[in-house]
């Protein structure tokens, strides 16, 4: 007997294609497993036999994935005379699971900052979940700019096997977003002893004080499940810019906002007074090892 392969429909709204690129860069054997385990019914960038009309004629969609921010304003985005909002309202009624892929689909992302159109939103802001009778659980937000390919795969396989996935207050899968980008950061010892990176792109030093790193306040496992299985922003010398959080993108992302030299935000869950005390003490230690190049 042929095993039922759940149908995936991937739609795109206002997007740079970054999440699609990310998916296509996933670990090849994992991606092959995805294609073998699911029926990739429709994706604008992947050749399939099906058209958008076929999608509209479907009775049921197992997984509806959206990439990109949405707008009802057809001047800014439309597909075949449909606004993306209208299209999504039709298609979402067929879906068992709806997944916003990336920060734009989740919360509007960078497009929501576009001043000429105030009607740019995340998917959850335009759909009325109560009208979606087939939906098996609330809309899932896979945040990230772009989303890590493994997060898409992990979510799809979890839902396929277990039917449910635990979500946090922001609608993100808890298993993926419970920790911080800080966890697993190879610069943690520099963070502890307050040794700052001198510039971007080096292996040495912490990027929190001077370079705007949001690792200690950003929910993400990207320093534990690495990109391309080998690297992350912080390992490469680029600060975490908090791309998995609700407020992404913030202004001046490569700067640490400070008041008279004191960081205006401190790591999550730490009282500012206590943090500043610890910082002052940590700075008094001069550890030679940490002030040298890692590889001479």
């Amino acid at each position: 007997m042929r095993q039922h392969k759940p149908k995936i429909v991937w739609l795109q709204a206002i997007t740079c294609n970054g999440n699609t690129h990310s998916l296509l860069s996933s670990n090849p054997s994992r991606f092959e497993l995805l294609l073998n385990s699911f029926n990739f019914f429709y994706h604008p960038s992947i050749t399939t036999e099906n058209s958008l009309e076929d999608v509209l004629n479907l009775k049921e969609i197992d997984f509806l994935l959206l990439e990109g921010a949405v707008t009802s304003n057809k001047q800014f985005y439309q597909i075949s005379d449909n606004s993306i909002n209208d299209l999504l309202k039709k298609v979402s009624k067929k879906a068992k699971y709806i997944i916003s892929v990336g920060s734009c689909a989740s919360y509007g992302g960078i497009h929501a900052k576009f001043e000429q159109n105030s009607d740019i939103k995340g998917l959850q802001d335009i759909l009325n979940v109560w009208e979606l009778k087939k939906l098996k659980q609330p809309i899932i937000n896979l945040t990230g700019c772009p989303v890590h390919p493994e997060w898409i795969l992990q979510t799809l396989f979890t839902l396929k096997e277990f039917g449910k996935i635990g979500l946090d207050m922001q609608g993100r899968p808890k298993d993926i977003y419970f920790g911080l980008a800080h966890h697993g950061c190879t610069r943690n010892e520099y963070f502890e002893w307050k040794i700052e990176a001198k510039s971007f792109g080096h292996k040495e030093g912490c990027l929190f004080y001077e370079e705007g790193c949001r690792g200690p306040m950003t929910h993400s496992n990207c320093n534990r499940i690495l990109w391309n299985d080998v690297n992350t922003k912080t390992r490469a010398g680029m600060p975490c810019i908090g791309c998995t959080e609700f407020d992404f993108p913030r202004d001046n992302m490569l700067e640490t906002k400070k008041n008279i030299g004191i960081p205006s935000e401190v790591p999550l869950g730490i009282n500012k007074r206590a943090y500043l005390t610890i910082t002052g003490v940590a700075k008094t230690f001069k550890i030679d090892r940490l002030n040298k190049k890692l590889i001479e």
Binding site: K258, N259, I260, G261, I262, S264, K272, R273, L276, T277, G280, V281, K283, T284, F285
Partner: protein, 198 residues
Amino acid sequence: MSTKELKKNNIIENALKLFSTKGFYNTTIPDIAKAMRMSVGNMYNYFASKEELAKYAIKYSTNILAEQLRKINHMDISSKEKIFLFTKVYLENVKNSPEVIEYFLRVYLSNREVFAQGCEGFLCVSEFVTEVMIFLDEGASKGEFREQDFFSAFSMIMGCLGGFAFLSGEKVLDKDLLEYSDGIAENIFRALKSDETT
């Protein structure tokens, strides 16, 4: 606070008076023991050495100020009012317990070698420095203070207050110390305020 802690604090208070008037090297453990009316041997049950006592004393004296500034930081008043209040509290300390500030100026700042091990950087004064950080951070985040380097702001406040405590200790001031309070506070405020703040 345990009896031993109370006794330790009592020793520190006596030591502060002696250190701040005679200096660190001219004050001996027997001098302090004598002021305490206790034996030299018993003194060592509380502090292993004069250096250790000196380090405890700097923590003790700056923590008095830290606690006072923390209370002010928690008040729902403007940063300007906080400066005026803290300046007054600081000068009251100078007037009522001159040994606390004198110790800082005449021992902690002058005999750095005593504090080189175990009191590096902010290690022994961190509670107070933290309160100054909180005070400056809140003032700047509310737009009352302008952006500047932390240390230039910090030294503006503490240099000004410490300098005045020094003048008082030298007995060169012609008016009562507290009469200068508002004038000093005004100077500190003007040095910190943002261009928009009046």
